[in-house]
């Protein structure tokens, strides 16, 4: 009905996050990009399970209706909690790296070809 707008939003979210991961040099900006990619994937799973004119898979009594698909929603629920756990682990390593190298720039940390 609405001309694929949620799928286009998914593609743009993943591309913006990928831009931040590939081209930014600050480590926290890279982590923000990873968070954006993960949000895009979650939105993609939920959008795949949506049916036109459906209601949520939660029953009150026994009425019959079209329901949206429950399995992608359950997997997305698992994915969100894993996402925040992995984000906390990444940020802990970033704080450790900052205390060791005293910088957040990726190319200075790996001893890059700048100077």
């Amino acid at each position: 009905m609405i001309y694929q707008i949620p799928f286009i939003a998914v593609a743009l979210l993943v591309l913006i996050g990928l831009y931040a991961v590939v081209f930014k040099r600050n480590l926290i900006k890279i982590v923000i990009g990873i968070t954006l990619i993960e949000s895009g994937v979650n939105l993609f799973l939920i959008t795949l399970g949506f049916r036109e004119g459906s209601i949520a898979p939660i029953y009150h009594g026994t009425e019959e209706a079209t329901r949206s698909l429950p399995v992608p929603q359950a997997l997305t629920l698992t994915s969100i909690v894993i996402g925040v756990a992995v984000l906390a682990l990444m940020l802990s390593f970033i704080v450790y790296i900052y205390r060791h190298y005293n910088t957040l720039d990726v190319r200075k940390i790996v001893g890059g070809d700048e100077e």
Partner: protein, 160 residues
């Protein structure tokens, strides 16, 4: 960070029981209404994170040690896996079997509160919700508390 002003402290201490009750309600009714262990645990952990922000992490670390949080999280994990292993003994003899629903493993359990949308119709699901809720509360709050305490130590310059 040694806490915010008195107004913030009072308001957050007043509001914390309501957030906790709401999160526990969401955990307990997870098989009837939208919600469950993950969502309610995230809400309760958000309330405790508000306490960390308002009172300062050093004050909070004196009250709640991370050791206690690890004990609670391990209890949740053991409860979850133990409930899964009990399925090997009763009912369908299967890992993760829902052995309490429609079977008389515990006598008269299914006769209390008959009906479709009732609190004990789902057998094992509310117990698993409770175990996973404990695990998520303790895990997420431990992450926030440990990171806040360590970074405030770094900020003060007392870190090694």
């Amino acid at each position: 960070m040694s806490g915010m002003s008195k107004i913030v402290k009072t308001i957050s201490a007043t509001i914390l029981p309501f957030i906790t009750i709401y999160g526990l309600y969401i955990i307990a009714h997870g098989h009837l209404t939208p919600g469950g262990g993950f969502q309610g645990g995230a809400i309760v952990a958000s309330g405790f994170a508000m306490i960390v922000v308002a009172f300062g992490s050093i004050w909070t670390m004196e009250k709640i040690k991370e050791k206690h949080l690890s004990i609670i999280e391990s209890l949740g994990a053991i409860g979850f896996i133990g409930l899964a292993f009990f399925g090997l003994l009763f009912g369908a003899k299967m890992f993760f079997a829902n052995f309490l629903v429609k079977q008389d493993v515990i006598p008269f359990f299914n006769q209390i509160g008959q009906g479709l949308s009732n609190i004990n119709t789902a057998g094992l699901l509310p117990l698993m919700n409770l175990a996973v809720g404990l695990k998520v509360i303790a895990g997420l709050f431990a992450i926030v508390l440990v990171m806040a305490y360590a970074t405030s130590k770094i900020k003060e310059g007392t870190a090694k």
